[in-house]
């Protein structure tokens, strides 16, 4: 069994934290994984993506071939569309509805969301609102991780344990906000 995930967003939106949680959960679950990420120049407010591959067998390529991605998990709706041709015909898009407009020619948001909805399976989450409800707007990435959790081939327990190890050092309120963000994201996805 395998699962190929494209994490998408804009530099600085925290997709590497999502990757960190999934990598560690995969290790705890005894899975093999490879996760290719973007460092350097593109991190400065540019489009960034991470190819994250999980398997119970051998993983060869660090990059996901076109047509192999099972899931696009995006912190930003326009960025979710950028990698659609990597998705298998029955693949899933989980994305935030909150645009990150740092470019002059950002398309009409309603059109962007409409294009996401044209994918066979999509889950659109108001991650900004849910993160604020959880206690910090910074937790939008963890809201989306929670929204994707039901389709991930990982034990929820392993994800939560890694969130714990990632945020415990930053103080209990931040940890609790992130755990709540995860729960709210999951609930929203299951209800959508």
């Amino acid at each position: 069994m395998k699962q190929d995930i494209i994490l998408a967003g804009v530099g600085g939106q925290g997709i590497l934290s999502i990757a960190f949680v999934i990598d560690n959960a995969a290790l705890a679950d005894g899975l093999t994984f490879k996760q290719a990420e973007v460092h350097g120049m593109a991190q400065r407010g540019g489009a960034v993506q991470s190819h994250l591959r999980l398997s119970d067998g051998t993983i060869w390529s660090d990059l996901i071939p076109k047509g192999e991605a099972d899931l696009i998990l995006s912190v930003e709706p326009l960025e979710a569309l950028r990698y659609m041709d990597h998705l298998r015909p029955d693949g899933v898009i989980v994305t935030s509805s909150t645009p990150y407009k740092n470019i002059p020619d950002y398309p009409d948001v309603a059109e962007v969301l409409e294009a996401v909805r044209r994918a066979p399976k999509s889950v659109i989450i108001d991650a900004e609102a849910l993160a604020k409800e959880a206690g910090t707007a910074k937790a939008q990435n963890i809201v989306l991780l929670g929204a994707a959790a039901p389709v991930l081939m990982l034990k929820e327990q392993s994800l939560l344990a890694t969130i714990d190890s990632l945020f415990r050092g930053r103080g209990l309120p931040i940890l609790e906000a992130n755990l709540k963000a995860f729960a709210l994201g999951k609930k929203a996805a299951l209800g959508s």
């Binding site: 350097g40 407010g45 294009a115």
Partner: protein, 532 residues
Amino acid sequence: MSQQILLGDEAVALGAVHAGLSAAYSYPGTPASEILESLVRLSAESGAFKAVWSVNEKVAYEEALGVSFAGKRSLVSFKHVGLNVAADPFMNSAITGANGGFLVVSADDPGMHSSQNEQDSRYYVQFAHIPGFEPSNHQEAYDMAREAYDLSERLGLPVLMRLVTRLSHSRSAVETRQARAQNELKKGAGKDWILLPANARRRFSQLLDQQAEMVRYSEQSPFNRLELNDRDRSLGVIASGIAYNYFREAVAGNVGAPPSFLKVSTYPLPEGLIRRLAAQVDRILVLEDGYPFIERQVRGLFGLPGKTVSGRTDGTLPASGELNPDIVRRSLGLAPLPSLPPSGLPLANRPPQLCVGCPHADTFKALNKALEGRALSNVFSDIGCYTLGALPPYSAIHSCVCMGASVSMARGASDVGLRPAVSVIGDSTFAHSGITPLLGAARADADMTVIILDNATTAMTGGQPTYGSGQELLRLLEGLGVPRAHIRTIEPLPKNHEANVQVIKDEIAHPGLSVIVAVRECIQEQRKKKRS
């Protein structure tokens, strides 16, 4: 042993530590920065070895060579173009040889994600006549580090490991081994290290004599792997480094055995294995991320009689750029996998840009204003975040060549009458390679203006320390002979815009050398400090 989640860069670093590393040196550069970053962290934890950010790659290389001469195991790491900076000691260290194991890690950037070119470090391996390693995955990166030290000490030579961005910046779990002890200090063979012509000639012929042994090593290395498919002789694949993964990915879904293949991970090439593959098949497809290094050697000038050699040079693969699983799949004649079509919506590009509130933005606004109406002005710039000043809305710079080039190029342009000749360079880049050209410009009092963007860090690569910042930088400028009256400082903030424009205008008008230091800390670093 235990499993750890590591970047490719970190796997090499930890492999070196567990192989008995005593000291490591580097200058930051994507995609190699994380090697020394992780060594700095590990060194702080254990205190057992040194990990130092050097002033530039040449200095780093020589520091590491000194460690090796003292008998200890050393590492130097940099991005591919960093090896150009270090090329002088690199080439000569192949002649002197090494004493303690010496691992040179050069991280190439096929596709130029964050670089000016996509040069292939394997040519340097061949150029210097030393052994090279090219891992295809994290475990190999870790394991090869120890293997490289053993080989380095056995042959008495530096050994180069070539990484590519895709492995440097990919994470996976690595099985680690028991760490071994460091070397004791050991005096080496003194004469070998004095490259007077008589010694250098003797050493070079010894190096050439060692080539056959290196080829034999490659032929026996477990990192290279030949698998022959007796049923299908139509195609044989030679795949090196990370391209090997794309090949295996593409044929993993095939019914039956894959075509005959040779995985290449060490250099010089395992010639015997290549001959065995070639004898077995009609056509050879060479897959390598980077230049057609293997492909050209296999084909030679006259080709292989009766065989076809395919790859980047005959159009089977693109002549340039990074490989990926889709390109490799196509080169093997396999149909694309079914996938969703693109969204159909025209997707606006989202290029990288200066952070909101970046001090460079204010400097560029002031510089643009000061240069308004000057048709001939040329702003030579350099390598760093401020290279993004080339993009709108600033469009403020007109060159980016290599570290420090802005200062020397402004001098050259000024010498032939270009006015104003302006150079824009960051504080870390200035320390790296801007000091020497400024020394020459100061001696000549060249009519040019150098703007040093002092944000007190090496920002683009993630905030490594810098050697020429603040008061030290100002004293350095005086010491270089820049006239005291024409060393000016500005604080690049919106509220100072008018005043800053005036300073730049005044110094451009001055018919001699002037240096303006724009002092404001990188906002990313400010944020980091606030958080901790």
